[in-house]
Symmetry: C2
Subunit: 449 residues, 2 copies
Amino acid sequence: MQFELTKEFLEEIREMIEQNNSAYIDKRIIQLHPADIAEIIDELDADEAKFIYQHLDNDRQGEVLMELEDEVRQQFVELLNPKQLARQLENLDSDDAVDVLGELDVDRQLEVISEMDNEDAAQLVKLLNYDESSAGGLMQTEFIKAKLDWPVNRCVIELRRQAEDVEKVFTIYVVDNQDKLVGFLSLKSLLFAEKKALVKDIYQDKNMVYVTTNVEGEEVARIMDKYDLVSIPVLNLQKKLVGRITIDDIVDVIREEADKDFQMASGISESVESTASIWRMSRSRMPWLLIGMLGGILGAQVIGNFETQIGKIPALAFFIPLVAAMGGNVGVQSSAIVVQSIANGTNQFSSILSKVKKEALLGMLNGLVCSIIIFLITWLLQNVMLGLSVSIALFIVIFFAAIFGTLIPLVLNKYNIDPAVATGPFITTLNDVVGLFIYFMVGMAVFSL
Amino acid sequence: MQFELTKEFLEEIREMIEQNNSAYIDKRIIQLHPADIAEIIDELDADEAKFIYQHLDNDRQGEVLMELEDEVRQQFVELLNPKQLARQLENLDSDDAVDVLGELDVDRQLEVISEMDNEDAAQLVKLLNYDESSAGGLMQTEFIKAKLDWPVNRCVIELRRQAEDVEKVFTIYVVDNQDKLVGFLSLKSLLFAEKKALVKDIYQDKNMVYVTTNVEGEEVARIMDKYDLVSIPVLNLQKKLVGRITIDDIVDVIREEADKDFQMASGISESVESTASIWRMSRSRMPWLLIGMLGGILGAQVIGNFETQIGKIPALAFFIPLVAAMGGNVGVQSSAIVVQSIANGTNQFSSILSKVKKEALLGMLNGLVCSIIIFLITWLLQNVMLGLSVSIALFIVIFFAAIFGTLIPLVLNKYNIDPAVATGPFITTLNDVVGLFIYFMVGMAVFSL
């Protein structure tokens, strides 16, 4: 009974929509999980999507809206008038509602907010003020709290009332009379407690983990991951409980972070979706291309200094791409490991020196293997002198590339620059230029023997 | 009151351990969260770590053990005799216990298992048979189940008994008399139900999401992410409920997957930690280096065909690194976007043709910008003929690199090869060689004008 969107099923849905077959939609689509309906809509064009959307009741419209891919949702939201959109947002959790609202321009935001009921509107306006990527921007204001002096049976009654607004209950937050967080109560302990017990007898205040609204999303992810939490309370700067963040939103943060790092390492400077406009995509890629060009021009200058040598021994030029590429490759490998161990906070205090030492040793080992292979091949294809030049140069280039690859992300990190950026442009470009210089110096030395 | 391991605190702990100061450990360390204690131990050497470990009671020893970094834990486990280790494993959740057990060699596994009580041992042996990265290998056998015909009050009593073994209760699984999963019951609905209601009156069977033991971990992550689940039931191939997977383990799967992709894109072929042995690290990096060398040698052959031209116009050689590097850069950028949209399952059915078209357009745009810049610079630094050669070649190279970068991961994916591998070696190498060929062909054409 697991849902799978096959090509055939998608074709069938499209055909039924074209035939205006409401009965089919009601029977086959409407009762699916909102995430499945969203998966279908993601693949349809605007008119087809609208046909399905109209068949959903208000509650499910909101849920499906949240599950759509960002770009698809933005197109969709534009089709709704402010009043319709306001109704949808009231049905959503506050963190989801503020995400949708945040995607609109300011005029439209005001129009939609003015159509909402006062309480919801006030809450959303407050949430809109937080930075999107901070705990305040990630939190939802729906959560369940209990007071210290409540007896268990009153607690259950109060919670039942509160729980109407809260879709998923993981932990009950225990607060004092000033709304300050003092501890936790699990549903499990509440379920198994004596009816006459008080909250203060059964709650837990040891190892209380929370974040404040200004904490960065990545840091929230690190904390929830470390302590294996499914939800975490959020306090404002006066230490009052104002919201909670649930793990599903943090999984999104982790994925986005990983995507960003991957793109950065691939030379894409701002996070873009594959559906972004061509201008935005071009802009996001231009910085690395320009750095790459700069490296290429510097490389040209370096080679230019050896023009007469190349004129005499053109075969020296044959191995330019090999030397340049290998320096880049080794540098990227070394930096990737360092960047990851920084990102994961692995052994943060183990000394920089020991890391560099290890990479240097590894550089020597890999350099030796590659040099021997290239010596034999070059000797065979060309001559022993060229073989010597290329293999000695390659060994030195790999050795230095390994050291640069390790040092650069460590230095960037020290100056609070995201070291992931180093895995791409800096290292490749630097190693290209340095590698070429080493190669021609070695070449001159060997051939002048 | 949030825990932070500062350099000063770490120094202090080390000093106190050296002084054999048990009182300090008991007062400052023992009451910390197990994850915090593990963070401290990760930074200590074996003897220091052991000193702290001995001060923990049995339960917490197990918890701390699980929170250690893999390498640190493996060292630690070797210090324990089979009996001690067996006691620790009995205290752990079954999925954690089997992870620790799986890291041992087979002889040691048998020794430890023979020291465990029969029931625990039988369970672990069963779990050991599953592939580590499958749902069976990720699941724990501790979960809570209820039968359809139980009244709510009996349910609470039964669950209280079961819950002793289950650290975190998210969902109660409802099974029939054959132990087949028929639906769910949330703690929330149980808490708020009438005492006389039956489980079958209040449980939910709509949109039942589960996995079978053979499903891959990545797929489990995709499903839990899609449906925003904090735990998912695992069925065996006879559809009987045998375990559950919780979100904290899936967060680890997502992180490992992201790390693996990042490393693969950086030319590291097997996932290695920064603490792995130098031989393993060398082996993990060699494949890309060899592919890079092959590319370099092919490049040398291409350039070799133009030896006489270089002899006449050595300046042609100056821009070899620029052309090669830019082809690689553009290819990596294009492929990164495609690899990510494959990994995230974005718009899976939108046609390949439209993706290639978009990247081709982007290639032309970026190629045009880069070509104009390089034309002006080369003209200034060298002469107009070289400027024309380099800029025309660069435009063509960027255009083709964008198309190759898009097509290669799509083709690899079609043949079920992880497309992430393409972002590194294939694309860079291919574009190096093709780029050089294009460059010299254009150069010949321009200079023979």
